[in-house]
């Protein structure tokens, strides 16, 4: 061994780099998200994220992220972008004026992000004034090949990451062009429509829905395969279906900050004015979803409640917390405001992050002391931040009071009194407990016996009250169930009276026809009427039979309510139950229902709606050659909308309302009794919905019905 001073250098191979990246970027959504954040930091006003041929692992698949930001110089690329662990972003906090953007991108994470997304990357970048575009090509797959091919050989150093050469070249460009275009090819994973949708949702949270960013930062998503994303600008989604909403602002000139407070007398949230707090003025918007609202929301978004995700803090319009890391599992998301933590402490009726969408808008100018912690995972835990957190939780308190208020007003007075009695008796028990402890020290058998008896009594009473509460709850449920049945009964009563009127009219007609024959037969003066009236009597009797049949079928409905999916019901009905009939009649049908909708009602009655519509359509299609039935549906803001169409002979303009009347039919010769649409209308009315004839979808002939069913409020 020589004595000459020798040195050893740290080296690391390709795999180490990739391992590092995997820890930092766990998800491809995060990867794109990080790259877009870099565009923001580069003062871009527009970013295009485009996906080409990514739904299959084609050769041509690629993702391009292009911005019109400042771009990078050769030095930037060499000394910053390609240096692992660069800390350029930490030395300056804000981007160049007039943007003055607070950097949101994670320190040097972009290169890992591109690695996550695909095997080959080309970076084209240019600063304003530069003569040409700098293009750098990085082929991760080749690194890998080198690493594999050299395994076991003597030239192992070749797999060292730092020694791999990446090619670059220049392309001429116009002087005022600037920006960065990252093209990732050999994309690692398939991106389907819902993956892009997930990305869309995440990116839509990057910018505050309420605070305008100037200069703007617009993100566009493009896909050549998913039609929903052909050149679509990312916009914060309008918040829908919430049950309560409140917002606060401030008046700097008057030194006033609004804060929320629940008013138990009115049952609504009021605003109060206080002096601007130490952390500076803030604007907050909170949308709360109570149980019913969450139900509506879940129905609308197919149980994807990841959108209800708590309170986010935006600084100058850009998200700061939860620092934009994508976490697919809502339960694993960081809860820096400690909203959910309070729940583990067992506070009753607190609100969790899954019940609210909130936006807190702060600015670096007005809230200078709310600063990011160095690990960028939270804010610096200074006094101002602690106060801000408290302030936010105070705002939530107003909604928590509403939650409690709604819960107790849902309970009956009796139940509330029982609960109070339960609390009293618990208090009484505790006091007895103390008394008993004290009594142990006093040797007074009578007193001790009395205390023991009292304790037993108190326990018994407590048990009784607990039982009463649960009985009361059961009773309350029963009352609610009965209310529902009663409601359907009321509509049945109204309905029965309509039917009775119609039946009487029908009987009167038959009677008058018979009376005529009785009075006049065989007077030849009225000869032509006798046979005519015989036919009328026969037809009228047929109508009466169909009415009584229907009444019987309605009587057989058991009055039970169940939850079912409207889409499944319609699909099953059209695809399975009517398949043979449609086939025999040569009818082609199409179902296109966008959203799922769960409804709680009598399933049989609901089925009747579509059975009647189908039966009408089949009649109307009798003379059509290319027979079609189509059913489409979607969720609107407060109702479910279904269109049911056929290309049959259609409905006359003047009959559009008339056809919903009992016994009103234009298909008497085909056995129509004028019952179907009357039934449909009645059932929908009992659901507080409706049906109407709208402009026919199929041209030139056909009919389209629009059915609306409101959400339960």
């Amino acid at each position: 061994m020589g004595k000459a001073k020798q040195s050893l250098k740290w080296r690391f191979d390709v795999n180490t780099f990739r391992l590092l990246g995997r820890d930092l970027i766990t998800d491809r959504i995060t990867a794109v998200y990080e790259l877009v954040k870099n565009c923001y930091d580069a003062n871009a006003t527009k970013v295009d994220v485009s996906f080409t041929d990514v739904t299959k692992l084609n050769e041509s698949r690629k993702i391009v992220i292009a911005d019109n930001g400042t771009g990078m110089s050769f030095d930037d690329i060499r000394d910053k972008w390609m240096v692992v662990g660069t800390n350029s972003k930490r030395t300056t906090l804000y981007s160049a004026p007039p943007f003055n953007r607070k950097f949101v991108g994670e320190k040097g994470i972009g290169r890992f992000a591109v690695d996550k997304l695909g095997e080959r990357v080309e970076i084209r970048t240019k600063e304003k004034g530069a003569k040409s575009w700098l293009c750098v090509k990085i082929n991760w797959d080749e690194y890998e090949q080198i690493a594999t091919s050299t395994l076991g050989s003597s030239a192992q150093q070749l797999s060292l990451f730092t020694e791999i050469e990446n090619h670059y070249f220049y392309e001429t460009g116009k002087e005022d062009e600037h920006g960065t275009i990252i093209t990732i090819s050999k994309v690692a994973e398939v991106w389907l429509g819902n993956d892009i949708d997930r990305l869309y949702k995440e990116l839509s949270k990057l910018v505050s829905p309420f605070y305008p960013i100037t200069p703007p930062f617009n993100i566009w998503i493009q896909s050549n395969e998913v039609s929903d994303f052909t050149n679509r600008q990312i916009k914060p989604e309008p918040i829908k279906y919430y049950s309560h909403h409140a917002e606060i602002t401030y008046d700097e000139a008057e030194n006033l900050q609004e804060t929320l407070i629940f008013n138990p007398l009115t049952g609504v949230i009021d605003k109060r004015k206080i002096s601007i707090r130490k952390f500076g003025p803030v604007k907050i918007k909170i949308f709360y979803f109570n149980e019913a609202a969450k139900k509506r929301y879940n129905a609308a978004y197919k149980n994807d409640d990841t959108r209800i995700d708590g309170i986010k803090i935006y600084r100058d319009g850009v998200v700061t917390t939860p620092f934009a890391e994508y976490e697919a599992h809502t339960d694993k998301r960081r809860d820096i405001l400690g909203i959910d933590k309070r729940r583990w402490r067992g506070t009753f009726d607190t609100i969790g992050t899954r019940e609210i969408i909130g936006v807190v808008d702060i600015t670096k100018e007005k809230n200078p002391l709310i600063v990011d912690a160095t690990n960028r995972q939270d804010f610096l835990a200074n006094e101002e931040y602690v106060l801000l957190k408290e302030f936010i939780l105070t705002q939530l308190k107003a909604f928590e009071d509403i939650k409690t208020f709604e819960r107790s007003s849902k309970r009956s007075i009796v139940e509330n009194e029982l609960i109070d009695a339960g609390k009293d008796i618990r208090g009484f028990e505790r006091e007895l407990e103390q008394l008993a402890t004290q009594a142990e020290t006093i040797e007074n058998p009578t007193f001790n016996r009395l205390v023991t008896t009292l304790r037993t009594r108190a326990k018994e009473t407590h048990a009784l009250i607990t039982k009463s509460i649960s009985e009361q709850k059961k009773y309350q449920k029963e009352v609610e169930r009965k209310e529902k049945v009663l409601y359907s009964l009321i509509s049945m009563q109204e309905y029965a009276s309509m039917i009775a009127h119609a039946v009487r009219t029908s009987i009167a007609k038959v009677k008058h026809l018979g009376e005529f024959i009785k009075e006049n037969y065989p007077n030849p003066k009225f000869g032509k009427y006798y046979s005519m009236y015989a036919v009328s009597i026969y037809n009228e009797m047929n109508t009466l039979i169909s009415v009584t049949d229907f009444m019987l079928s309605f009587a057989n409905i058991d009055g039970s309510f169940e939850e079912f999916d409207v889409v499944e019901l319609i699909t099953d009905l059209l695809e399975n139950q009517y398949e043979t009939l449609f086939h025999a009649e040569g009818i082609s049908f199409e179902i296109d229902i966008k959203d799922n909708f769960i409804i709680e009602t009598n399933k049989k009655a609901f089925q009747d709606i579509f059975q009647n519509l189908v039966s009408n359509s089949v009649k109307a299609l009798k003379d059509t050659t290319d027979k079609k039935i189509k059913c489409t549906g979607f969720l609107d803001t407060d109702k479910f909308v279904i269109y049911f169409s056929d290309n049959g002979y259609g409905i006359q303009q003047e009959d559009r309302e008339w056809i919903f009347g009992l016994f009103n039919t234009r298909t008497a010769e085909q056995g129509g009794a004028g019952m179907g649409l009357y039934i449909v209308n009645t059932i929908l009315k009992s659901l507080k919905g409706g049906i109407e004839v709208v402009e026919n979808e199929f041209k030139p002939t056909g009919a389209t019905f629009m059915i609306t069913i409101p959400f339960n409020k």
Binding site: R504, I507, A508, Y533, E657, W658, G661
Partner: protein, 207 residues
């Protein structure tokens, strides 16, 4: 055919009847085809009545109409009464009387509904009610004046009522009575008094 000179118009407003309905057939047999008009929509029937206020009229009116655009029989009755008390209305309904609300009954009684009948009753009895209405109309002074004018070919131009400001021919007086003006009402009252006066003083005899 009825015996009066000017036939009374019979207007049937009912959406469950058609031209061949027994009651219509029999009414046209009893009166005449052109004097029996059928309307299946309440508004059309009402318009016809309002356009013919100068004529003797009996209306057979249904209470309920199925078409959402139709107004109810009760509304038709009220609208007629807003214009005249001289049109006789017979209301028929498939409902029981017990199904009428108190307010509905009040309107019918206070605004002089002529008759109320169930639709399920024999049509002959419904026709009987129409006949009663027709006869009642003929007992009225305005009906007598109209008959007289018809018999005399409407040629009488002599003023028979002279007030301070106006002169009225018999035809104009008929119009005043039918329009229920104070001149018309006053004239009817005077004619009735005069007739009794003349009979009692043996100046005129009724044959």
């Amino acid at each position: 055919m009825s015996t009066e000179l000017v036939p009374t118009k019979i207007v049937v407003i009912h959406d469950d009847m058609d031209e061949n309905y027994p009651l219509i057939v029999m009414l046209r047999d009893k009166y005449s085809k052109e004097d029996v008009s059928l309307f299946k929509h309440s508004k059309e029937g009402l318009n016809f009545v309002l356009d013919n206020l100068g004529k003797k009229m009996v209306v057979l009116l249904d209470k309920n109409f199925k078409d959402k655009n139709d107004i109810s029989g009760l509304k038709v009755f009220e609208k007629i009464r807003e214009e005249t008390a001289l049109v006789f209305v017979v209301l028929i309904s498939a409902n029981n009387i017990a199904d009428f609300s108190e307010d509905e009954l009040k309107i019918l009684v206070n605004k002089d509904l002529f008759k109320l009948e169930k639709f399920t009753n024999d049509y002959t009895s419904i026709i009987g009610l129409i006949e009663e209405a027709v006869n009642s109309i003929d007992m009225r002074v305005d009906a007598a004046i109209e008959d007289w004018l018809m018999a005399n070919n409407l040629s009488e131009e002599r003023p028979i009522l002279i007030t301070e400001t106006h002169q009225y021919t018999l035809k104009q007086i008929l119009h005043e009575i039918r329009m229920e003006t104070s001149v018309g009402r006053d004239f009817v009252k005077k004619v009735n008094n005069l007739t009794i006066e003349l009979i009692m003083r043996n100046k005129e005899k009724i044959q």
